[in-house]
Amino acid sequence: MAENIKVAYWPGCVSRGFTPELHGSMAIVAEKLGMELVELDRANCCGAGVIAEHNQELADTLNARTFALAQQTGLAMMNICSTCQGAQSECQQRLDADSAYRAHINEVLSGQGLSYEKDKQGFTNKNFLWLLVEDYGLDRLREQVVRPLSGLRVGPFYGCYIVRPKERLGYGEFPDRDVYLEKVIEALGGEVVEYDGARKCCGFPVITMARETSLRQAGTHVGDALDAGADCLVTPCPLCHLNLDMQQPEAAKVVNRDLGLAVLHLPQLVGLALGAEPKELGMGKHIASTRWVEERLTTGAPA
């Protein structure tokens, strides 16, 4: 696909909340990639699975509203959060499966001049990771790289909502979605670090309810990545980022070891390879220092 990509863009709540660097870096990367983002600034929270746990129809309707807003633009939708992807895909699955249910949901949306329609190709809502590989293309991405991440050892961290359940997340059509981060890291010139936690849970969903379980998960994965020699992690999920980065000092106490591993948002990693500066990508806002990554890129690596 050579033409420019234009999408209805749902940034999610956390990317404009506790991980503002994600929203900012996505804008920079989109410009560098020649992608046009039409931001859905009237759209609402996806519910993150919590609203669905409370009332499934409420979650379905809230997300149908977001889908309808995207459909008004006539564009496919893109998100930058594994959790949004998973929660929205779940609602879309229920909406798409039953026209009577869709009609019921559209009853309330029609009062707002909106309607969610299941068109023949199906409504498309993709995380930036999926869009980058499936629509933008890795070869084209490779051509855009001006600062290859040579020598940078990157551990992928997906976020549960984007890898499971496979049956819901389009793995039938795109079976490699659970290895896309590895493909992107390679395309950017980096080195993939294999470690145990790449597709495990960061623990964030239970941080308020079972703090120790939660932080033990985050701390274990960060520790495993360090033991495997990672210079940093990369994640397409800002909620994972909260537990892996913002809570990293607390997680270190729970697993009783020193941590200190930079955790990059996917657009930040892409942005670095496309020549953006760490500062404009908001890397200074992270809790776990990213200085090591910056040094590796400026000193260690032959271009």
Binding site: V14, C45, Q93, A100, V108, Q112, V163, G203, M209, Q217
Partner: protein, 387 residues
């Protein structure tokens, strides 16, 4: 016929040695199972290779194991597919994309007795017994059998499909971090009785599971058990149903599970997008009451979050009023639309679509043919019909 290399994690307690890897070359049709491959290795190469199995048809639940890191049944996993996955994983890690070994390990989260045989008693069965896995009806039993409406049982058919293989327990990421977590199999079993109209201790069951710090609010919502289950039980979905029912029963738990859920739902009703600091505050110290007389846990948790907040202010990620002061977060320009959605969903709340899977028509039409109402609640079923 094709050749495969299976790499088995072995452990022989009588040897006094630790676990080790051993490779076997097997030769069988790609459509045959990983279990068939193991049995061939046992037959041809080493009769001491220990694996538990019986029916070979995904009914008995004996041959739970990890294949390329994925928990499932050896008899339900085709060896050709296992080879494809092994190659895909190796290729993603930058290794050769062909001829890789299929890695077979005993189930996780359980002690290993020998080779692929795990101790199901110490974890799985103990946890199953923890949830009182039998009916607790009140009053004198009826003269003949209990009569229940078929529709009222639909809600629990999914959890009834469990064959106790332990694959979900093996895959559970919460249990990996907290071995005391009651876990997916036992909680799915708990829902089987919570959702049963004949059971009279629903409230007590829910109260027990909500109060336990290793109960329903210890599930980290990672979907691992859903993908591991060979019978479509979707244990995590059953855990979410337990949470919903506990909320409907008005059960306040000391883990902030219910308070977190209510806080989240109310914030979106008020603001449209998430006010993170308000969520934190309301999860621990909900409403006026929570703030006037905060619990010990609320005080501990709120104090515990101060260092994180200070770090966030220092780096700049939380350096704005609406991120720091709960409730200052702006609402959406057309928040009234979101409120209308809440009103609509609360008024009509239809739970008729719990089991919808796949594309339009597959299940919905089948059910219409069978005359199955989509609702488990006779009142809303009526409403759907009339509506």
């Amino acid at each position: 016929m094709a050749e495969y290399t299976i790499k088995v994690r072995r452990f022989q307690p009588e040897s006094g040695e630790g676990p080790y890897w051993e490779e076997f070359n097997v030769d069988l049709d790609p459509s045959l199972s990983v279990l068939d491959g193991l049995l061939q290795a046992k037959d041809r190469d080493d009769g001491s290779l220990a694996v538990r199995c019986s029916c070979r048809a995904a009914i008995c639940g004996s041959c739970g194991m990890k294949i390329n890191g994925q928990s499932g049944l050896g008899c339900k996993t085709q060896i050709g597919e296992a080879q494809e996955l092994a190659d895909k994983q190796a290729s993603a890690a930058g290794e050769d994309s062909g001829g890789n070994s299929i890695v077979i390990e005993p189930m996780g989260n359980m002690p290993v007795i020998k080779d692929l045989i795990t101790d199901m008693e110490s974890t799985h069965w103990t946890k199953i017994r923890r949830v009182t896995p039998w009916l607790l009806p009140h009053g004198a039993p009826p003269e003949r059998e209990y009569v229940v409406e078929p529709e009222s049982m639909i809600d629990i058919t999914q959890s009834m499909a469990c064959i106790q293989c332990g694959a979900c327990v093996s895959s559970c990421l919460s249990m990996e971090a907290d071995p005391e977590f009651i876990g997916p199999a036992a909680l799915a079993k708990a829902y089987r009785f919570v959702g049963d109209p004949r059971d009279a201790e629903t409230h007590e069951r829910l109260h027990d599971l909500a109060e336990d710090p290793h109960g329903i609010y210890d599930c980290t919502h990672c979907f691992s058990c859903i993908d591991a289950c060979p019978k479509g039980v979707a244990p995590m979905d059953q855990i979410m149903r337990l949470r919903r029912k506990a909320g409907e029963e008005g059960i306040e738990d000391p883990n902030s599970g219910h308070d977190h859920e209510i806080a989240f739902v109310k914030i979106i009703e008020k603001k449209g997008t998430l006010d993170e600091s308000l969520l934190l505050q309301e999860s621990f110290a909900p409403g006026f009451k929570g703030k006037l007389k905060p619990s010990k846990r609320a005080i501990r948790e709120m104090l515990g979050s101060i260092p994180t907040a200070i770090r966030g202010i220092r780096t700049g990620k939380m350096r704005s009023l609406h991120k720091l002061i709960p409730g200052v977060h702006p609402k959406l320009p057309d928040q009234d639309d979101v409120k209308a959605i809440y009103a609509h969903a609360e008024e009509h709340s239809e739970e008729f679509n719990l089991y919808i899977k796949g594309e339009e028509g597959e299940l919905a039409e089948e059910n219409v043919e069978k005359g199955i109402e989509r609702s488990t609640d006779p009142d809303t079923a009526q409403e759907v019909k009339n509506g």
